[in-house]
């Protein structure tokens, strides 16, 4: 009998993971969150937890947890005020896990941690370095959490950490979904990078498989296939792409960061009305210029994971849901 604990059980993906694992024989599934979902989940023991190191440790030891799937993350509540909290909570969780003898922690991460670079391969595999973006946001949080977790795992050989790097998940109401459905959705004039998406059910399947994959101790990319040009993804999702000149986008970002002063600030007020369009981008504007497409062969190899939903299908469903 093994025990898997899922954090952030109130989230959509977490509930799907719990559902997928609950049907496994010889497996106990515990779901924890500061606020529990109103409905019970079949075959899942729900437990309220304030996510502090102490209460986690008690819980982990009492239930002899083998694997933790950490989904108490930044998304889809990326705009919540506790951004720093994700890193902090993860550190607390890792400490408790190491002390309680948990064997593996499965983390949620993003394929965008490889960064938007013109010289990146067309399919980036997991050996590529993580390049934290300069600007704050969900991607930076993931990159930082991955770095801290890898350092932690290096110091605790009994605990392995497996970040599941997900392409933009569709189905949980994320900022990416809102962006893809916008009319107009700003894109960069003269560029059309490829992007990847991932159906929430496929993401959940990957987390569930990672929880069951003994010995998994390295990052794994997961994404639906095929990668699509951004403008096409927007069209498929029911949005309408609006190409904006790169300069305008750069000015809007600098202004938002308060980095424009004097004459340039004065000049840029001319284009200020455009800023509103660039609010709530799911990633920084570098990803409007260069793509970041992950190679998912390791997921097939180590997890036996294959996406069940194509990118077109996933985005088509999004358009249908919005209409």
């Amino acid at each position: 009998m093994r025990t898997v604990l899922i954090t952030g059980i109130g989230g959509y993906v977490a509930s799907l993971v719990a559902g997928a694992l609950a049907s496994q024989p010889n497996l106990a599934v515990i779901g924890v969150a500061p606020e529990l979902p109103p409905q019970p989940l079949d075959g899942v023991r729900l437990q309220q937890c304030d996510m502090s190191a102490n209460s986690l440790l008690q819980l982990l030891e009492a239930s002899a947890v083998d694997v933790v799937v950490h989904l108490d993350g930044v998304e889809p509540r990326a705009l919540r005020d506790d951004r720093r909290g994700y890193l902090f909570r993860t550190v607390e969780l890792l400490g408790a896990c190491a002390q309680a003898g948990v064997r593996r922690v499965v983390l949620r991460s993003s394929t965008l941690v490889y960064g938007a670079r013109p010289d990146a391969p067309l399919f980036i595999d997991e050996r590529a370095p993580v390049v934290p973006p300069e600007r704050a946001g969900a991607v930076l949080d993931y990159a930082e959490v991955e770095r801290v977790a890898a350092e932690f795992a290096a110091r605790h050989p009994a605990l392995s950490v497996a970040p599941i790097r997900c392409a933009g998940i569709v189905g949980e109401g994320s900022p990416l979904e809102r962006y893809l459905r916008r009319r107009p959705a700003p894109v960069m004039l003269g560029f059309d990078p490829r992007i990847q998406v991932l159906h929430a059910q496929d993401a959940a399947l990957a987390f569930a498989l990672a929880a069951l994959a003994d010995g998994l101790d390295r990052p794994v990319n997961v994404a639906a296939s095929p990668p699509l040009p951004l403008s096409r993804a927007i069209l498929l999702a029911g949005g309408r792409p609006l190409p904006l000149p790169p300069g305008l986008i750069a000015a809007a970002e600098l202004r938002r960061d308060g980095q424009l002063h004097g004459v340039s600030a004065l000049l840029s007020t001319v284009t200020a009305p455009v800023d509103r369009l660039l609010d709530d981008l799911p990633f920084n504007s570098a990803f409007l210029r260069y793509g970041c497409v992950a190679d998912t062969r390791r997921a097939a190899e180590l997890l036996g994971w294959e996406p069940q939903h194509s990118a077109e299908e996933t985005l088509g469903a999004l358009a249908a849901a919005g209409a």
Partner: protein, 406 residues
Amino acid sequence: MMEADTGASRPKDSAPEPTEPQAQQPAEETTGGAAAPQAASDSAGRESEVPIGGAGESAEELRRETAAAVEELEVEVRNHGEGQSEAHDVAAEALRLIRANLERLSPPALQRVARLVRENLLSSDYLDPDFWRGLAMVLRYQVDEIAGLLRRRSRGEYTLDAYGMDQELIDIVRPFAAFLYRTWWRVTALGLENVPASGPALLVANRSGMLPWDSAMIATAVLEEHPQPRLVRSLHAGWLASVPVMAPALASFGQVPALPENAARLLAEGQLVCVYPEGTRGAGKLFWDRYRLAPFDAAGYLRAALDAGAPIVPVAVVGAEEIYPMLGDARPVARLLGLPYFPLTPLFPWLGPLGLIPLPSKWTIVFDTPIAGEHGAGADDAAVGRLSDRVRSRIQALLDENAPRG
């Protein structure tokens, strides 16, 4: 697609209408534009009246009939022109292009083209200037129509592969590339049998010219003349991925940034890959250095080929060095624009975008016999280095053999 043509008024067509004034037959008006199409005339007596838009005639029939008529004319022009000036070849190739484009047209556009063809091509003698004007008019109409078709494509109508390649776009552009291949650069392709009909293979070619016309012509050679037409995926300089418009366009045509990882992936899929190991050093070569290979950077790609068990085919492109004779390199301007070089040719930048029209040099593309890899996967660096030297000297030898002296 029916609305595709309505309202597409092109008043410019009416101005150079080379046909003799003829009776208007408004019943045949299908485009609804201001183009005032001339009625078909039997005056030349070489074509019976085809009822346009009439009942009982499907678009496919019209397409077939028009194609047959154009082909007949093409053969006639070709036969007549044998041993004579190149003008005949150009005319015949233009007719061939018109014929290929027919496949792409929507029914209303097809009807209009059929009428234009009948009035302006079939009725006039091909030595007549009117014939040439007619050719230009039909082609221009087709180009406008096809460009409109591309613009109107939106969702769900076309598919792309995982690298962003747009097969439909390639099919559309292919006849135009073939036209350039045959008439503009009059390419002679030698040794195409050295390109494997299936399975992975790595072509290694010399790079020249500011724009990747050489990769376009290598691809056209394999598409048009190889017994088993295949798509060549060229690797382009990585910095092009930072150039607006260029980046997505290259991806649509199946070109990918030059990185050994990308080559390895394509070869593992069994694709035909072409790499230019001179890279930017080759494209930014000055005119007097032409056909002298710049330093090579091929090790990563050769290793990818060895790992995939892909034959390595040296390719020499002769003629592309002359299309933009680069007399100087304005380095300060290049630095300012963030480009690796800024070419000064007799026409560029002095004539602006017109200076980008490549000169019509005569090309030869030689595909050498594949180099058998005596080392399999996992060859050491020294072995790969020797292989790289061998490929380089083979290409240089081919260039020396085929390049014009001077």
